[in-house]
Amino acid sequence: MNEVTVGIGGAAGDGIDKSADTLAKSASRSGLHAYGFNSYQSVIRGGHIWLKLRLGEEKVYSQGDHLNALIALNQDSIERHAPEVEPGGAVLFNADKLRVNIPVQDNVMTVPLPIAQLMKPFGAVPPVMQNTVALGALLFLLGMEFDITATVLADTFAHKGKAIIDQNVGVLKAGYEHAREHFVPLGYQWKFSRKRRPFLTGNEAFSIGAVAAGCRFYSAYPMTPASGILTWMAEHSERCGIVVKQMEDELAVANVAIGAGFAGVRAMCATSGGGFALMTEAIGLAGMIEAPVVFIEVQRGGPSTGIPTKTEQADLNQVYGASQGDFPRIIIAPKDTRDCFDSAVEAFNLAEKYQLPVIIVSDLQLSEHPETVEPEHMPATVPIDRGEMVTEWSGEKGEYKRFAFTPSGVSPRALPGTANTLHVVASDEHDEHGILISDVFCNAAVRRKIAEKRMKKMDLALKDLPAPKLEGPADAEVTLVGWGATEGVIREAAQQLNASGVRTNQLHFKYLLPFHAKEATEILKNCKRTIGIEANATGQFARLLRAETGHGVHDQILKYDGEPFEPGTIAKQVRGILKGEKVSLDVNLAEAREIAYHHVRVYMHEEARPGKITKAEGNGFGEPVWQIEIVHRDSGEKQGELQVGVETGSTYTWQPVH
């Protein structure tokens, strides 16, 4: 498959995401598919941002394993990423400030850009425009069409007027022409399909799905990585006729959404782990009063405040255990960006049909990475099912009972404002009419039946949801088991494994509650070897799977360092497991270097970096250690030595040279 992966590295505030967006939209308008992933930090300015954008003629399912071109906006990016650029690739950088101080692979072109000189004709332009120069050069090297990018810039800056547009296009051109004059293209031959596709994040897909589904109320409190939904919703509230309300905290967010859902609008709210913890009590309320509300929990690295800008799938236990007591609720974990759209629509329908809270579990990677989606997969007209609603009621039908005990467990719902259906809903236990049975009317028999009525809805809902299916060869040697947002990367890993002769199939779960225990058991029973793949430390989904089916997974690939999975790494680990290699938790060489980088950044000036690294006996540390030379960034002269435990990762000693 014809594809390229571009990396852009720099600091927060460097405008990296904007440049990537321009490139992605250019590719998309040409008819290429795109997938981006931004590895950023919780800091407003500075820090290290590493954005990868993968473009291909066919659909790409992850950021992949490759790096073909690098735009480095600071020295750190060169040092860390230039060596990753594969033969045939290029390293672009601002030659006024940076230098390639580290060996690159064979046949990698270094492209120093005389930024100041190239920008001179445009007068005083903001420094972030260096990106546009680099982008221009890259367009040439990648064989992309200049004019398409020019129209993207024109659209992007339309609201700023012609002068700004011209300036941007001019700067882009300067970069493009500079590359044409001094470098040869990297040799990509694209077949541009010219099909235009929207390029959007999971958060945007949730938002658009909600709009299509008739959502009229969105409440939120800002929290990474869920804030993107608030931003999008606030920006589009007027156009879409949606009340978008930032509340004082997540307690309010959840309860205001429940109030709105009860009153009869399609209501949604979203947050991340810590905010969701604050919503849990309210979710039980929604379950008890049988109010339809959609909650989105976008996971990030935990526990607690954790690593707010890093991805993880470790909130499953929390979502599953949200609120005290047994009550009906549905949990959905969308698989990819398109599925975010679908899941939002589905969630609103399920919420109203079964009158319960629906929780969508996403994660930072799914919610924040942008990718191209087929426009026909996000239609304006979607199925809408508001469930059994009572819009009129006359005395002949007897008294209206909000919680009528029915065989299905679903009781027809009347909204406040309707005549003859007056009722009170309560978080206290109640009878069919809503009259409390928590106080003087306490009644064990009525309690049993209403508890059963509520839970019955789950059986019905399960029948509504598609069962999990095995994808790939039925007689596979190994089955990769996952849930939620890792579907794409696992799919690519399976493709790589199959291509390399390991017969692999994939079992991926989207519906976590209610759970297709029967169907899953049937599948798992016949799997030769299952490997669970999850971005958390304890295998929360594997545990859920065993709880539901009695079948655990045979092995696990767990990742909890905050970075997303890559298909090649998964494939390699699968091969290792099949070969019987034991998983080691020791600090490896690359990690030792990372730990040394941490030391340098915290305690030393910017001009140092890790140099030679050797493994040695512990000599009193109770474990072997990595001995890491810290050297001068350019000269390579030794500044001192660091000892890092191989097993624990502890930084034992730092010995400066003098």
Binding site: L251, V424, L436
Partner: protein
């Protein structure tokens, strides 16, 4: 303003008898809420009574209207959602001092600065009734309660003063021993456009032996009796809010018309949200997709 057609209070009579202790102040408040709604001419079907959890918060179960008996401390947030979803509804919040000024104080203060058209009736008995007598945020200093057997050491909250500095536009105090006066306060609160707080002395006869009917009877006086009192003056309102001791005022302490939250919400331009179609306009939707290309 539309003319108000008063309704018979019987329209609001609930099925179930309150489970409050005989003599509980909340009986008077219940009566006043029903009468207040009737006086304000709200139809039962258009009234939603929202509460949290507590003895006082059982109130919605005793009114023939829509009701939402929510979580402890969350009534104001739930009510906000109901009101925003359907601005054709009148939303009256009823609850306790613990519910509203203790665990729920954040929602209370933030709701006031929004000036949403809500009416909040707090049955302030200066104690946690339902949990059998612990100190509440309005419990008198030094009072011995189940959780403060050596005497309460915290300064009580002053709800009226808090409301004054937080942007409520109708601030009143009532007394459950004066249900007629109280029903007028509630009726006016319902009719007021904006956030109305009515703090009500509603004695807990079982657990509060300090702030009893006798205690209030001796002290309260009506602001309405002083014809010179100007409820539109924040400064004198603050003085009245601070008045506590031998004489304690009840009545409308402060009132001021300000733009409401509803006035500035663009999504309401086509009426209440619940009355709008769930189908999205295809052109609008097409534009959203186009933006991302």
């Amino acid at each position: 303003m539309a003319t108000i057609v008063e309704l018979p209070v019987q329209n609001f009579e609930g099925i179930v008898d309150p489970d409050w202790c005989p003599g509980c102040g909340d009986f008077g408040v219940l009566k006043a809420v029903k009468t207040g709604a009737a006086k304000a001419g709200v139809l039962p079907k258009d009234l939603v009574v929202v509460s949290g959890i507590g003895c006082s918060s059982n109130l919605p179960g005793y009114v023939h209207s829509y009701g939402f008996h929510s979580l402890h401390g969350r009534a104001v947030a739930v009510a906000t959602g109901i009101r925003l979803a359907n601005t054709d509804l009148k939303v009256v919040i009823t609850g306790g001092d613990g519910d509203g000024y203790g665990i729920g104080i954040g929602h209370f203060i933030h709701a006031m600065r929004r000036n949403l058209d809500l009416t909040y009736v707090v049955m302030d008995n200066q104690i946690y009734g339902l949990t059998t007598g612990q100190a509440s945020p309005t419990t008198t200093k030094e009072a011995r309660t189940k959780s403060t057997p050596n005497g309460n050491v915290e300064l009580p909250i002053n709800p009226l003063a808090l409301a004054l500095v937080s942007g409520a536009t109708y601030i009143a105090r009532g007394y459950s021993g004066e249900p007629n006066h109280l029903s007028d306060l509630i009726s006016a609160g319902i009719q007021h456009k904006g956030f109305a707080l009515i703090d009500v002395f509603s004695p807990c006869v079982t657990y509060n032996k300090l702030n009893t009917y006798a205690f209030f009877k001796k002290r309260i006086y009506k602001l309405e009796d002083d014809k010179t009192y100007d409820s539109n003056n924040a400064k004198t309102a603050m003085e009245k809010a601070d008045e506590w001791g031998d004489r304690i005022p009840i009545g409308v302490v402060y009132k001021n018309l300000q733009p409401t939250y509803e006035d500035s919400e663009v999504a309401f331009k086509n009426g209440p949200l619940t009355k709008q179609s769930v189908n999205v306009d295809k052109n609008v939707f097409g534009g959203l997709i186009e933006e991302m290309m």
